[in-house]
């Protein structure tokens, strides 16, 4: 048993060293949507399927909102260096504060997703708060 404890202890030290190495080599940055087709690719993999018709990527390219032909909405949430797509439910709510759009829905967890559009947001995005 003591050999196993030594193995696990040494493994723990190795893990901490490896994570520190990965961090200091610059692998702790958040994900960035390089291109629109990059965002489309993530949206298309949303659980249940989602074919984006219009995509609005925030100015920092760290999140996005899309609608499909049926008017359904989906968001891209940054997760580590990547993104996850979530199709919003009927209860999703939207609020504009200046150039920041807050999106709240149970499918994206307890916190709101905030997308900043310093440059002009598409009209269909601007109209969301009033439409809901």
């Amino acid at each position: 048993m003591s050999a196993e404890i030594i193995t696990i202890g040494a493994s723990l030290l190795a893990i901490l060293a490896l994570v520190a190495l990965v961090h200091f080599l610059g692998f702790s940055r958040g994900g960035v949507l390089q291109t629109d087709s990059d965002a489309e690719g993530f949206f298309r993999l949303a659980a249940g399927g989602f074919a984006p018709l219009d995509i609005a990527i925030n100015d920092q390219r760290t999140g996005a909102l899309a609608r499909d032909a049926n008017g359904r909405l989906a968001v891209l949430l940054a997760h580590g260096g990547s993104f996850i797509a979530r199709v919003l439910g009927d209860e999703a709510s939207f609020a504009w504060e200046g150039k920041r759009l807050s999106i709240t829905d149970q499918t994206i967890g307890p916190r709101s997703l905030v997308l900043q559009f310093d440059n002009s947001a598409p009209d269909w995005v601007k109209g969301l708060a009033s439409a809901k």
């Binding site: 193995t7 190795a14 893990i15 490896l18 990965v22 692998f27 702790s28 074919a51 997760h79 996850i84």
Partner: protein
């Protein structure tokens, strides 16, 4: 007493991960993410700790199976390669079940929950495999007369082989090798969530099992691979990563009508009695329909 090959290989694992991290820094920065790496490695450590506890019970079961059969192959030299190949076939059957039966998937899913694909992902091993009774796939080898220690050693070597195929740093191996062996290219397909790749390439060491049983799909360089699980987890929480599917099964069984309760255990992941979710077959069919439209 045969030493555990996986324990002996840990320094090699660490060295190869360091090498891959250095490669990724200059060639593929998106291959690694520090929190994802921490999650993978701590899940690996937890799996090792659980293995230390349940390993004795697994060995006891193999010894029981071996003692209860009139067959006894012993330690003859040819038993080693035969045991290795048959153990790899048993792994194929286990792995296919781990993707097609939700009970086994609940134990295996944490290996797939990373959205990155690198050598640290290989160490995201199950904590609940023993609880899920995954060992039943290896008992036939003991019943067939193979020595329990030989079966365990072959399983360990199989696991070590599978470590190096969890990488994007290797493109394709020589054609003859790709034809017979499981490779990084084949296994990238296995970890992909692109519809065309779902539930493909279950092999451990030899890709021939997938070719024989119709579950092989080659990597298509024109289709960028996305990794993870169909319903991405969206958290680095280790406990959620390990137990989320067990929790989901419990909720589904609790809520389902009586006649459907067991189906939430043995049917494929994504199955639902009211058709409100998608299985991998349904996702692939939808993708194929969309392609034709």
């Amino acid at each position: 007493m045969i030493p555990d090959p996986v324990t002996l290989a840990i320094p090699l694992f660490v060295a190869l991960i360091i090498g891959e991290v250095l490669w990724a820094r200059s060639r593929r920065p998106e291959a690694y993410e520090s929190r994802d790496t921490a999650t993978s490695l701590f899940i690996g450590l937890g799996s090792t700790a659980v293995g230390a506890i349940t390993g004795g019970a697994l060995a006891a079961m193999l010894f029981w199976a071996h003692a209860s059969t009139p067959l006894n192959i012993g330690w003859v030299w040819w038993a080693w390669p035969l045991c290795f190949v048959l153990d790899d076939f048993a792994y194929y059957l286990f792995h296919r079940s781990a993707h097609r039966v939700r009970w086994f998937w609940a134990s295996h899913v944490n290996h797939h929950s990373s959205q990155h694909y690198n050598l640290s992902t290989a160490l995201r091993q199950s904590w609940t495999g023993f609880f899920a009774a995954s060992f039943i796939f290896r008992l036939p080898l003991a019943f067939a007369g193979f020595e329990p220690a030989m079966i365990i050693a072959c399983g360990g070597i199989n696991l070590i082989y599978q470590f190096w195929i969890h990488t994007e740093s290797v493109g394709r191996m020589p054609r003859w090798f790709e034809a017979i062996m499981n490779t990084p290219s084949h296994h990238r397909v296995h970890h992909a969530i692109n519809p065309r790749y779902l539930d493909r390439n279950y092999a451990g060491v030899f890709i021939i099992w997938d070719r024989m049983f119709g579950t092989f799909t080659p990597e298509d360089d024109s289709d960028r691979i996305r990794y993870g699980i169909v319903n991405q987890l969206g958290t680095f929480n280790i406990v959620k990563a390990v137990f989320h599917e067990w929790s989901a099964i419990a909720k589904d069984v609790w809520r389902a009508p009586w006649r459907h309760k067991l189906s939430y255990l043995w049917r494929e992941p994504g199955w639902s009695h009211d058709g409100s979710r998608e299985t991998s077959d349904m996702i692939r069919a939808r993708w194929e329909r969309e392609r034709l439209d």
